[in-house]
Point group: C2
Chain length 203, copies 2
Amino acid sequence: MSEPITAEEARRLEDLYGPLTNSVRTLIDSAIRSQADESDVLQAHSLIDQAVRLLSSRLDPEPFGVRSTTEGGILTWGNVAMGVRNAIAFPLNITHDENGRASADLLLASAYEGPPDHVHGGVCALILDHVLGATAHRPGRPALTGTLNLRYVAPTPLGKVRAEAWVESETESKTIAVGELRDSRGALTVQAEGIFIRPKAKV
Amino acid sequence: MSEPITAEEARRLEDLYGPLTNSVRTLIDSAIRSQADESDVLQAHSLIDQAVRLLSSRLDPEPFGVRSTTEGGILTWGNVAMGVRNAIAFPLNITHDENGRASADLLLASAYEGPPDHVHGGVCALILDHVLGATAHRPGRPALTGTLNLRYVAPTPLGKVRAEAWVESETESKTIAVGELRDSRGALTVQAEGIFIRPKAKV
């Protein structure tokens, strides 16, 4: 577990690694769709290995986890769904309206493909797990998924999608949330219901 | 839709892009855990952008999809769970035993993190969707997820995991499959049940 950093230092690191991570996202896509000459691919490979060596000159032995700033900010930069330093992350930017409804707009390109031209069903599950879970988090008490039930109404085309979730019912330790995924034309593609558990706060 | 390529050309491309994709996987991890000096990070960023330019000198405008070789082989290189050209993919290598049981062993590092030191619940869902679905595919008739129900029994620590799935019951068009995810010590972490639909074969 790393020591907390100041909010200013967090901003500096986010400005440094955020754009780098965006470039890695573009690289992931290029590696899938490239039809370049063999010599160009080999040279690209060598450049990537050089970049890895530079970044690995000092490497945290631990996964990023959840870190805090000295001002109480929470950093989830390594998170696979929303981390600004994780190139796998879409990243998911969740907004909450005044009724606690959580939503996120995403652009899903080639790298999230399952069936041809469509989003992998498991990626739909990842998005919905995260957005439904977001209705259940409380300050200092992140919720864990207990159950998640998904109904695939129609295939989800690659492109723009929107996920929404809201609370169905709630107790002190448990939130039942429901939600849905819609494609770029607003058509429903996946419905979800989940139970999210809040472990007791540490005293 | 690209023209089929020969099996020999497919091998050449796999030998070219497979190792490059592995380097991108290492890069994703390094971008999360790097604590390098700012000048090294900036230089790495510039190398990544150069690699993107080389790979993008000729770029397929379409997602990879599912392609075939002239010998009838199937290429799913862009698939987010199993694609050899998709750096997001673990990749999932599924083996089938004589009873149709599907299984996969994976090593999940920092890039698949949700809760600190643990696999994101949505990544567990992605793995199980894919492995359960693998019990339902038939030659030329890939199955689509109809429903997927997940029960999270315990958090899944990052590291080695094993997923298994088997058929519970089956009709001509539909397979009900069940499966589970276990951590490196063999402890059950997630249970899954899903209905997978095989669209009618094209005539």
